[in-house]
């Protein structure tokens, strides 16, 4: 459903800081895939997400989503069908607006039913409350609370709900639990798994946790220097231990996986 054909992106071309962040990248994502992406800092994982969601346009190559060429579509148009979560829980919500107002904005993606001058109705409120109840964080009783006063875990849960309240075709998760405490991270991860499986959403998830990378979803990618160096399906990766994975990475990337954060979280 998502295809990247020979996508390249170079930052600061022609300067000493030139960095090839994506190098002739090809990727075929199938409908319903739940893919985890591993790789050290600077491997191009976030750049890949930025290219897919349209934060910047690729220098070369083509990006197709559901048979439609989206290579030159600006980010706000792509966000109608691509949802995204960041590591920083502050990025996905407007702090000085209430929970209800944030959800109303997210629901704008639903399109035709949301005219410019319409206001939040009682029916909308009921629907938001139902959704919030499923997060199991007591947020359904605090719909008039400003989002800036919530904890990181609560904000990330709300962001997850906002990204999926109108189910997107594709969900991009950029280490979305990495900045949370272990308890909150576990809860957000469980929520993510449930929402993704309920909606059969196609999902890409960047993680630095090797164990999570091998156990979540149905496919694992490893990236180095702007390329995919390892692409494992469910059967292949089930047979692998983390030590095997490191070995395979070394063979394909030509170097060790040098990232303290990944090694420490094994």
């Amino acid at each position: 459903m998502l295809t990247l054909e020979h996508v390249s992106k170079t930052f600061n071309p022609g300067t000493v800081n030139e960095k090839k962040a994506l190098d002739d990248m090809c990727l075929e994502v199938r409908d319903g895939d739940y893919i985890t992406i591993l790789g050290s800092n600077g491997a191009g994982k976030s750049t890949l997400f930025n290219a897919i969601s349209g934060v910047f346009l690729a220098d070369e190559g083509r990006i197709m989503l559901d048979g439609k060429n989206i290579t030159f579509e600006p980010d706000f148009k792509r966000s109608k069908y691509i949802g995204r979560l960041f590591q920083d829980p502050l990025k996905g919500t407007a702090p000085h607006m209430t929970i209800e107002e944030n959800l109303a904005l997210a629901f704008l993606r639903a399109g035709s039913t949301t005219a410019a001058f319409s206001r939040i109705t009682g029916k909308d409120r009921e629907m938001f409350r139902d959704h919030l109840r499923q997060l199991d964080m007591g947020l359904e009783d605090r719909m008039q609370t400003q989002v800036g006063t919530l904890s990181g875990g609560q904000r990330q849960a709300l962001t997850l709900l906002m990204a999926t309240i109108v189910p997107p075709k594709l969900l991009l998760l950029d280490e979305h639990t990495a900045a949370l405490d272990p308890g909150a991270a576990e809860k957000i991860m469980a929520l993510t798994d449930r929402i993704v499986s309920e909606n059969h959403t196609t999902c890409l998830m960047i993680t630095h946790n090797m164990h999570q990378g091998l156990s979540t979803g149905n496919r694992t990618l490893m990236m180095a220097d702007g390329r995919i160096v390892l692409d494992l399906n469910k059967e292949e990766r089930e047979k692998l231990t983390i030590a095997d994975l490191m070995q395979k990475f070394r063979e394909n990337a030509g170097s060790d996986l040098a990232d303290d954060r990944i090694l420490l979280s094994v």
């Binding site: 706000f76 109608k80 995204r84 919500t93 904005l105 410019a116 001058f117 319409s118 206001r119 906002m162």
Partner: protein, 298 residues
């Protein structure tokens, strides 16, 4: 004394429209819109010129449209042409000086003599002149505020608020920030021009230099209002702050004018100092707290 109160209330209602415009651009969208000064004169010039030709009500409508156009130019420069937002306002403001002269037939001022204004029309209904003026501008100011309150609760209004609050999140909600900034600045400048238009017909004159410092006065009113009615806790309070702050500002102004405690020429400097201090207050507080701590722990 009654006269001072009456004048402060009347002018407070008129100028509160500028404060309301700045609330939308500066507080909600987080953009310092320097089109304000020129836009105020534009509204004044258009409304007075139309009134001279015998169309006072149409003049106000034209003023609103002209102001909206000026706002659109500023928004266009910053959202589509990559001009930094402050510079975009300054550029439009400079261009408006010539436009304003053109509107008044390349003269630096225009005066209404015996022609009708919206205020004489109220007087002709048999209401005492000064109370009639107050009534009319109070109704207009209240309508504008209620409309603003309502608008910021609509989905378009929410999108505009989110644009100023977290721009990244707006793009992720499939809202085009260029569109929301444009709508916001157009509405803000419509309000500024309406204020200019009302002042012009009230004074029965338009002058090319009458807009100097309006943006600072508007900000002063906004900040005084926010301080007096308790912070920025809700949209409703914030909108009310525009009116309250302006009336207080003009009350002080009128007192100085009557009592001559300060030479009236000093007022702009005083206003500038008040605004600079008010905007600097959080930083000053933080630095003072830090220095106190350093002194204690050294």
């Amino acid at each position: 004394m009654l006269f001072i109160i009456q004048t402060a209330l009347t002018l407070g209602c008129v100028y509160s429209l500028v404060a309301l415009a700045l609330f939308l651009s500066y507080r909600v969208l987080d953009i310092a819109d320097l089109t304000t000064d020129g836009c105020f004169v534009l509204g004044m010039a258009v409304s007075v010129t139309a009134a001279i030709a015998g169309h006072p009500v149409l003049g106000l409508l034209l003023a609103i449209i002209a102001g909206g156009t000026a706002g659109f130019v500023t928004a266009f420069l910053q959202t589509r042409m990559g001009v930094p937002s402050i510079l975009a306002g300054i550029v439009t403001n400079t261009g408006l000086y010539t436009v304003n002269l053109m509107v008044m037939g390349f003269s630096s001022n225009a005066s209404l003599l015996k022609q009708a204004t919206v205020f004489t029309m109220i007087r002709d209904l048999g209401i005492d002149n000064s109370w009639g003026q107050l009534l009319l501008v109070a109704v207009i100011a209240c309508l504008a505020m209620l409309a603003m309150k309502w608008f910021l609760g609509t989905r378009l209004g929410l999108s505009i608020r989110a644009t100023g609050d977290n721009r990244e999140m707006v793009a992720a909600s499939s809202i085009d920030p260029r569109y929301t900034i444009t709508v916001g600045l157009v509405i803000a400048n419509c309000l500024t021009a309406l204020s200019g238009g009302l002042v012009g017909q009230m004074q029965k004159a338009a002058d090319i230099n009458s807009g100097t410092g309006i943006v600072v006065i508007g900000l002063a009113s906004l900040i005084i209002g926010e301080t007096v009615i308790g912070g920025r806790r809700s949209i409703g309070r914030n909108i009310a702050a525009c009116l309250v702050g302006n009336i207080i500002y003009l009350f002080i102004y009128a007192l100085i004018l009557q009592t001559r405690i300060l030479p009236i020429e000093c007022l702009k400097l005083m206003t500038a100092i008040i605004v600079a201090l008010a905007i600097a207050a959080p930083t000053l507080q933080k630095n003072a707290a830090l220095m106190n701590r350093a002194r204690r722990e050294m």
